[in-house]
Symmetry: C2
Subunit: 253 residues, 2 copies
């Protein structure tokens, strides 16, 4: 199994990503928030690349079961129902809802992956579940770290460290032969350098510091909790849903 | 002094980079080859982003003193005078010549940096010279690793390790206070993980393996030789020239 990795999604367009197996990682906070939302009973997440798309799509859907969630500069978008904190996506807010979801980096990477053969969403929260899924697939895959648009060379340390932790866990599975691209090797090394305390790494990261500054320090604890929400968000018919094993059979055909 | 870093140039356009102090690193091979060429007496290097630009520009210049150099897939471009091996850029080939220079990654990153306040070209060959220059400037700067288009997430391990080595050397200079972006911290960590033997790292890198396969294994030794060509290629009026100290005064105004 060859593992390739990109430290951001900026260079991709959706046709380049067609038919690949893709894990999108946006630790702070899209991947974590989607995982929490689906685990709390959200019906589906519809990731979009822009506020314009969110408005267009929600115009054609019924209001009662549809919410709009996401952020710009970490804050809720005007006219939306939810921001981007996993704390907001509790059962009473999201159960049974379709959520049109627009963020600066994560939802853009997911929207670009719309033609993937398999698209799953990975974070520290569901790390081992993602690794088990990828081991079971035993196919080449690409990790797309969402990164941070126009900041630190579009690079997010926390996404790279999370990817590196997945790769390390996969390599422990002796039934899988793993070949790493240079970028995947780099992520593996970054996990070794920065992965001893995930919460400390998040608190010291540029994005983590920014979120703490604007009042979301609690989110860092939630996003650092490895294997706390062991479910897999997976794309089914252009929407991200909770994976149940019956559905995998359909996707794998 | 704040150090920012990008692992590739794909997301930039030239206006974003206006007025910055930039180091472009393309270890294999643009940065190394330019450094060798200027040290061997080339008058100037004119980096361009495409073969079309190279042809257009050379049409308006006199043939005798102008050469076209560069690569596609590591090989010389049809109708060009030189490929991209530093071995080709010896004194008898380049002395006194202007070289229009087109490569897949390095020359594109340099062309995008055309409006920089200061643009210098860095590699292992001139690593300490670049670090001394940046210490003397004592200004915020951005390292652009040229990366590899459409390969390994546009990431080049060798560029990242070279950048990390520069950062490590800069941090040893106690008269300079250094603040690192997350991406610069990552490069620093990658140098720690992979920088023990530069030649071995190059030989194990994807790009290094490819160059060895197509007959350029000697280039790896040349590109791994730290501080072997202690000169600084610097942009002066849209051309890359050998820096001489008198010219710095003009650039810094």
């Amino acid at each position: 199994m060859k593992i390739d990795l990109s430290f951001n999604a900026a260079q991709f367009d959706d046709l380049q990503l067609r038919d690949k197996t893709i894990v999108v990682i946006d630790v702070l906070r899209a991947s974590s928030t989607i995982t929490v939302a689906l685990n709390n009973g959200a019906r589906e997440i519809i990731p979009v690349a822009s506020i314009e798309s969110a408005v267009k799509i929600s115009g054609s859907l019924f209001g009662e079961v549809t919410l709009r969630g996401g952020e710009r500069n970490g804050q809720m978008i005007d006219g939306f129902n939810l921001g981007n904190s996993p704390l907001e996506y509790n059962e009473s807010a999201v159960k049974g809802k379709s959520i049109i979801y627009c963020t600066t980096n994560g939802s853009v990477a997911m929207a670009k992956s719309r033609y993937a053969r398999v698209l799953i969403v990975g974070s520290f929260l569901n790390l081992s579940a993602v690794v088990d899924f990828l081991s079971g697939e035993n196919k080449d895959f690409l990790i797309i770290c969402a990164g941070r648009l126009n900041t630190s060379g579009n690079f997010s340390l926390e996404d790279a460290v999370c990817a590196g932790m997945m790769i390390q866990k996969l390599m422990k599975n002796e039934s899988v032969e793993v070949i790493l691209s240079d970028s995947a090797k780099a992520a593996y090394a970054l996990h070794k350098s920065f992965g001893r305390s995930i919460l400390k790494m998040l608190k010291n990261s540029e994005h983590g510091k920014y979120l703490a500054e604007i009042g979301f320090v609690e989110d860092l604890k939630i996003c650092a909790a490895v294997d706390s929400v062991p479910v897999i968000p997976i794309q089914i018919e252009s929407k991200i849903k909770l994976r149940i094993k019956e559905e995998l059979a359909v996707v794998s055909v």
